[in-house]
Assembly symmetry: C2
Homo-oligomer: 234 residues x 2
DNA sequence: ACAAAAGTGTTCTCGTTACACCCATGT
DNA sequence: ACATGGGTGTAACGAGAACACTTTTGT
């Protein structure tokens, strides 16, 4: 025997939870579903896995299709396979989460999907089990960002410490001491201070920083413990 | 339209990485594959997902089929979907890892699969991408156990601190100070000391401890940081 | 001159580490 | 009596937390 008979085949899809940060709030990108079932309802961006495609490839393709962006932080979250999660046909969906620079995205536009950004606490009703997926993604983001320097992925190339701090504060609904924050972040050695300042958000101006990409690759696994008492998070 | 036409269906499977600890070494359970392709080669225990089965259910079923055990610690690891990973037919496999008390398992026996335990550094060549899965599982176990109290799952109901310490030392290839270890573990409040001692491994005897199940559920997310400098692990 | 945000240093506390001796028991 | 492994306390250190004032500059 060199085939698997009698095993039932099913559909496999990928869904993407796309996070963005507008400077004030953490958001996710949703689309209005363009086909039945549930046409016109809010949904994560997703698609079926093609015949000769790896899962990561499929997620990358789908992300690009919606945002036009490549080279994005993308990580597999979890596979969801409840029978009946898609009412039409048995489908397993592998969820991915992505972190993008929302302003980069805005430059790309171009969309048949009518995507919109939603604040995390204002997510509308979503199709299927997408609400579950979003919850899982939020939790994973909080978990992971407490220990790894990934939140840079949500910011532009150049960013200021106050911007970064606001991002952390938003994600953990916490307020942080800026002295301790700056010391901790800079002590990683991952940031390089630029000469220019951001003069938009304050009179005095805040220094821009860039990621030291080389060190970033190497130190990615360094735990950060940015959030005081992050061990008390759930 | 209320069907998905033109989408290619595929097979979906579950594979389990089953960890056990014999008191000295961390091991995983492998079987000799009983059907083509690759009949007779070493493999993870797995199986196809049935028509009306959730992923977690499938993993539980497969774990029970091999070990006879229920109520086991089981967690989804990652979905693997390289086209061609299974040479016969396109198959996506969702890998799960399980932690079992190896002695419980030995009581169950009964097996058509000729399973054997292998030390982690003596894993034979495995079929398909199973070696990859095992690597991912090892990494995840080390990652997770550094912060969450899950290693109890590898031990019997009653266990001693020296046993637990040996387990940590094995997993992290580290040697730990027993005074600091005991203080740290006991400070979680998760362990209840029993009156009896284990007199098998020493003349004096070591106190048995049991998990405080109630607190365990609640404090599961408490980070432990058992391993000094665990943040330097990759 | 003043309002608004950026930047910076020090002290205290508490958890982590390093370290050495006595205890209980079977032979 | 002694060998073997189990159990415990303390001092030094370092990372994290708390905390307030000065600087810059546009209006």
């Amino acid at each position: 025997m060199t085939t698997y008979n009698n095993q039932s085949k099913l559909l496999a899809a990928v869904d993407c939870i796309i996070f963005g940060f507008d400077g004030l709030h953490l958001k996710i990108l949703l689309i209005k579903r363009g086909f039945e079932p549930a046409l016109g309802q809010w949904s994560l961006m997703g698609g079926f896995i093609k015949k000769n495609e790896d899962l990561d490839e499929a997620a990358t393709r789908i992300l690009k299709k919606l945002t036009g962006l490549e080279g994005i932080y993308l990580e597999q979250l979890h596979a969801f396979g409840q029978p009946g999660r898609d009412p039409i046909d048995r489908t397993i969906s592998v969820a991915y989460f992505a972190l993008i620079d929302i302003h980069q995205y805005e430059k790309q536009l171009s969309n048949d999907y009518h995507p919109e950004w939603f604040n995390l606490n204002e997510i509308p009703k979503l199709i299927f089990d997408h609400t579950l997926m979003v919850e899982a993604a939020k939790e994973k983001l909080r978990y992971k960002a407490a220990m790894h320097p990934i939140l840079f992925e949500l910011l532009p190339n150049k960013f200021t410490l106050p911007q970064l701090q606001t991002l952390y504060e938003e994600i953990y609904s916490a307020s942080l001491d800026k002295r301790n924050f700056s010391r901790k972040i800079l002590s990683t050695g991952l940031l390089i201070r630029q000469k220019e300042k951001d003069k938009i958000n304050s009179r005095r101006g805040a220094y821009y920083y860039k990621l030291d990409k080389g060190k970033y690759e190497k130190k990615f696994q360094s735990f950060l413990n940015i959030i005081p008492n992050s061990h008390k998070l759930r």
